[in-house]
């Protein structure tokens, strides 16, 4: 059936407002009597907070209020999947990375709030910093979080240090030993990827107010999942969900960075404490240091292939740098693992992945969610195998690519919409025409 609108280059419905400047982004929203806030962050990536003196900051003209953990002792930790991130670090508690919040400063202007942050005096007891997940996995590594993760399985390798592991995942399909025994060539390689910032044009910002009539905190902040953010803010503050209302302004890009809580809880606290409208904007620098990154992954592949060009076994180990807090890590690292063979048929697969805490900025969601790093590794692996076997790389891919009935590393049988071979043939047709 022919369609009138589906499949057509229909103009984006929000294009006109964005191009003409009519679209309202968070920072475009103003209220009378609005206050501004900033957060004082950790001065050291791994340390106990010993003293926090806000006297000088409080005496600065224009400072309205400073909030520390002492003022709200009952706040709950937050996080997208596993709630391990504190709202404010209290005296005697530990900071785990440079973005950890020590105090919320509310002032008449943004500049005053910033200057007041600089006047807050902090004393810490420095601890050894762990930035390499391989070091964190060792038995003698400094422990980052005192509490053992609730996500660990009983399969976890006893040689590793469970204290610094957030979660472990496994793949076991067919029989890899038999698969490697049938291989004519075996390739073992290690791949490494880097920390990447999602870098949406718009960095984190929120503005909000207290609605006296309903006793509701109303927040305008760009977020990728309104209802999840609402739930996390509410549980963290110990309020009913209905008392937290989040409204979506026009979003200036996200790429995964706006899945996590950023301004929301601190902003809600400032609003509740002052009962006045408050605006909170991150700088680019603040955004880069405090909010999530793409995971650096260490990926080790061992792949077996027969001389006829068919893959016989695929074994993968993944070590992901979680940084200081879980964020999306309990989903990202093993999603990478689950895509370890790419779209290629392998009957025998074994895999393991570890998400490992460090004192780096926490890692979370970013477009690709672990599979971008994995694709770099598996399709480099495919390319080097093709070269070693003397097979054309396109034909090597074509020969091994999925079709209807193929089984993924998870053992999911693909029953429909598997046209990967067609994509290879199509690209060959597109490029051969230009030769």
């Amino acid at each position: 059936m022919s369609k009138r609108i589906i499949g057509k280059d229909f103009k984006k419905v929000d294009a006109r407002d964005k191009v003409t400047g009519k679209a309202l982004y968070t920072r475009d929203i103003y209220f009378d009597d609005m206050l501004y806030m900033k957060v004082k962050r950790a001065p050291f990536p791994h340390a106990y907070l010993r003293k926090l003196n806000t006297d000088k900051a409080e005496s600065l003209a224009g400072v309205v209020k400073i909030i520390t953990a002492e003022d709200y002792p009952d706040l709950n930790k937050y996080g997208l999947i596993y709630k391990d991130q504190p709202v404010l670090i209290g005296i005697g508690e530990k900071m785990h990375y440079m973005g950890d919040p020590l105090a919320i400063v509310i002032a008449e202007t943004e500049e005053t709030a910033k200057r007041a942050c600089e006047l807050i005096e902090v004393e810490v007891e420095e601890l050894e910093v762990v930035t390499d997940p391989l070091q964190a996995l060792k038995k003698d590594a400094p422990v980052i979080h005192e509490e053992l993760s609730g996500l660990l399985t009983d399969r976890l390798d006893k040689k590793l240090n469970p204290a610094n592991i957030l979660c472990d995942h496994y793949l076991e399909k067919g029989n890899v030993e038999e698969g490697f025994a049938r291989a004519d060539k075996i390739f073992e390689r290690e791949y490494k990827t880097q920390h990447i910032d999602q870098l949406p044009l718009q960095s984190e910002a929120g503005v909000g107010l207290y609605d006296e009539d309903t006793g509701t905190v109303k927040i305008w902040a760009a977020t990728q999942w309104l209802h999840d953010t609402q739930a996390d803010v509410a549980q963290s503050l110990g309020l009913p969900k209905e008392k937290i209302r989040i409204i979506q302004p026009t979003i200036g890009g996200a790429f995964g960075k706006k899945e996590d809580i950023s301004v929301h809880i601190h902003l809600a606290l400032a609003i509740l404490a002052t009962k006045r409208p408050v605006k909170f904007s991150y700088t680019r620098k603040g955004s880069m240091i405090t909010q999530s990154k793409r995971h650096p992954l260490i990926i080790r592949h061992k792949t077996g292939v027969a001389n006829d060009g068919f893959l016989t076994a695929w074994q993968t180990e993944v070590i992901g740098d979680v940084g200081a807090y879980a964020s999306s890590s309990p989903a990202v690292v093993h999603k990478g693992l689950y895509h370890c063979t790419g779209p290629y048929n392998v009957a025998n697969v074994r895999g393991v992945s570890y998400a490992v805490y460090t004192n780096n900025t926490f890692t979370g969601a970013m477009r690709g969610f672990g599979t971008a790093q994995m694709a770099f590794s598996y399709d480099s692996q495919m390319d080097l195998m093709a070269a070693e076997l003397g097979i054309d790389p396109a034909h090597f891919r074509l020969q091994n690519a999925y079709e209807i009935g193929s089984s993924t590393p998870n053992g999911q049988i693909l029953t429909r919409s598997v046209n990967v071979r067609k994509t290879i043939k199509e690209v060959l047709a597109m490029t051969e025409g230009g030769k």
Binding site: H195, M288, T371, Q412, T431
Partner: protein, 329 residues
């Protein structure tokens, strides 16, 4: 010397949360003044979900898309649409809108058939109106019909939830029958030019074929592929947030390099539309798969150009110069 090379990569991406997590989107549609209001909390981060659902509703309900309004996302006025992540909005919210629109269309036929003392096969909907095929002049607009329905104490509106189930993988083996709702596939072949003196890599041309079921909006899909590929080129060649001993050394756009329009290659894109997936009109998600082939394709092309394989990203000019030096001694 400048050396050219070609490289390809073929990728897959299982989309939606999958793995047994409850994943759904709720949408409602109602008539309001002169327009049709779609309520959804789906976040449009620039990818175009609001455009896609406008197209879907307009297609099903046969109305002018300019008459469609979409409510602002608001936890107190819209129901959960799930996150804009996991390449899921066209599939999940798209399907929810399609279901809600179909339910509303069914109600339009039902109530109109009472007014026209007729039955469905004798009725036609066109441009936001419904009429008997043998009496096209005597027509009711949807808004007139909504008014008639409300006078009966009933409402001409609909709500739908798209909520497919997936299976949690076994903890010990990762095995399960239905881990992700569907998979998107893509192949990219790129041509690069490597400057062996400066170590700089320029991506010249990118050819892409994507298996996406159906492009609801082909230009938006091409935008996703081009933007995603440039993001992947950034990952391959330059982006690196350096954190040393817990301290971020380059927390600004002077020290953190990201591709600009000047780094953007020439694109040729082919969309493979078999309309064979469970998304609206056979569509699959494209957001994330569009970015993940670029890094391996560029790495493979660099190998083709200079004979060096890199196992660590990003492949910076320094690494290339060092590798070429090591190769010659």
């Amino acid at each position: 010397m400048k050396k050219r090379g070609q490289g390809m990569a073929t990728i897959m991406f299982g989309f939606g949360y999958g793995e047994g997590f409850p994943d759904h989107s709720i949408v409602s549609i109602e008539f309001e003044d002169e327009s049709l209001l779609i309520r959804t909390a789906a976040a449009d981060v620039g990818q175009g979900v609001l455009t896609v659902i406008t197209q879907i509703a307009a297609e099903i309900l046969k109305i002018d898309p300019d008459l469609i309004k979409i409510s602002q996302g608001d936890t107190h006025l819209t129901k959960n649409s799930g996150s804009t992540s996991a390449t899921r909005q066209t599939f999940f919210t798209g399907n929810a809108v399609k279901q809600a629109a179909e339910e509303l269309l069914g109600k339009i036929y039902h109530y109109a058939s009472l007014e026209f003392r007729s039955n469905h096969p004798e009725l036609i909907v066109k441009d936001g109106h419904i009429f008997r095929h043998d009496d096209p002049e005597n027509k009711l607009s949807y808004w007139q019909l909504a008014e008639i329905v409300s006078q009966k104490g009933e409402e001409l509106k609909s709500e739908a939830s798209f909520f497919p189930a997936t299976d949690a993988p076994d903890a010990a083996t990762g095995q399960a029958d239905n881990v992700y709702v569907a998979y998107t596939f893509m192949t990219q072949k790129v041509e690069v030019e490597v400057d062996t003196v400066t170590g700089e890599v320029e991506v010249i041309e990118v050819n892409t074929a994507m298996d996406l079921g159906k492009a609801i909006n082909p230009r938006n899909v091409e935008g996703q592929i081009e933007g995603g590929t440039v993001q992947g080129i950034g990952m391959a060649l330059m982006e690196d947030q350096v954190i040393q001993n817990g301290i971020t050394l380059n927390p600004d756009l002077t020290g953190y390099l990201v591709p600009t329009a000047m780094d953007s290659p020439h694109f040729k894109t082919s969309l493979i539309e078999n309309e064979d997936a469970d998304g609206p009109f056979g569509a699959k998600g494209v957001g994330e798969p569009s970015m993940i082939a670029a890094a391996p394709a560029v790495a493979n092309a660099i190998h083709d150009a200079i004979g060096v394989r890199f196992y660590e990203l990003p492949i910076t000019p320094d690494k290339i110069k060092k590798a070429l030096k090591d190769k010659i001694f």
